[in-house]
Symmetry: C2
Subunit: 224 residues, 2 copies
Amino acid sequence: MNPNNQTPSMPVLAILGGTGKEGPGLAMRWIKAGYKVLIGSRQTEKAQLTAAELNQKLNTNTVEGLTNDQAAIRADICILTVVYTAHQAALEGLKDALCGKILVDATARIDYKNPRPPDPPSAARVAQDLLGPDVRVVAAFQNVPAHMLRRNLDQRLDTDVLVCSDDLEAAQVVIQLANAGGMRAFYVGGLDNAVVVEGLTALVININQYYKVKAASIAITGLE
Amino acid sequence: MNPNNQTPSMPVLAILGGTGKEGPGLAMRWIKAGYKVLIGSRQTEKAQLTAAELNQKLNTNTVEGLTNDQAAIRADICILTVVYTAHQAALEGLKDALCGKILVDATARIDYKNPRPPDPPSAARVAQDLLGPDVRVVAAFQNVPAHMLRRNLDQRLDTDVLVCSDDLEAAQVVIQLANAGGMRAFYVGGLDNAVVVEGLTALVININQYYKVKAASIAITGLE
């Protein structure tokens, strides 16, 4: 897909806003699984710093730090992991760079100090409306505890990824990506359903507080 | 609590709108656990028919069928299991009967033919606003697959109950009730959070359809 990809059958991934908590955790699992990963940030220097840290931790030199725009242009699949207050501004600058690609939107519009369910439309619906039909938006990874991603990279995570998209084929690609990172993932409907997945983040924060745990999350049951 | 209760330490339960799919399933588990259960319906005859069926299935004679109003007056805890289109009308007639009691609202405002996340406010918030502060409203049991409740009454269900209430003490009572029925249950915040739990029903229907299963549900992970 991309000439820079060291394993030609695997898509190149760009983690946009990849210098926060969630982005580097996801990156680690995909680097470990053999993907070429680009870290994007508004500032090249910040992206390069995170890339260097990831290269060091995983004993590789394949991770590159770029601006979000540069990373998006070179990638096949982009994963947006910005805080919700930066969501719309980040997307507005990336419309052209994302053309023809899959955008995975991991945004949960939750204030961690005052968690409550966000109103519709979902962040991913906002993204799809803003980016138009040439970008295939998929909502995923909103509920994965960031600090769990970085631990025991070879182990499966005890959390399931709920995947929403209006494009079933794109959803399937993201389900494979989650699987490669050690997470079970399930298709749960169109982009409007992502508002529920965002809201789950508020519930999970409540569980963490009330039951005094740090990594509550959810799993799907009843599949057999 | 109630002179009619055969086991004085256990509250009397009324399943209001208890002749549908979910109500009798919940009733079976609580009867089995030793609770006195009243079945309420708009029509006495329908309630008596369901009560008779439950008595026969569980080889007992303790279940009684009454109007919703009569059942609510005699119960300590009422569980509302009407379809969402009947939710508001059912509550309006029960305000006086529910005074001083716990009302467990199991309503998910989902059209099963076209499942999509409901908008706020949650059904339970609507109930609390309508009933006023003399009724302690708790949202629970929206996602429990009805046909699973009726199977293997002695086994734990592979689904977790997410419990919302503005009254933590009432939430704890309902968590114990879920536990007695063979379900794990967790407090996930105030009544406004119940909109997420309702929305999960839409996602679970999508999972059932897409993965060709019949009893998808959810569980909480990361509690250790």
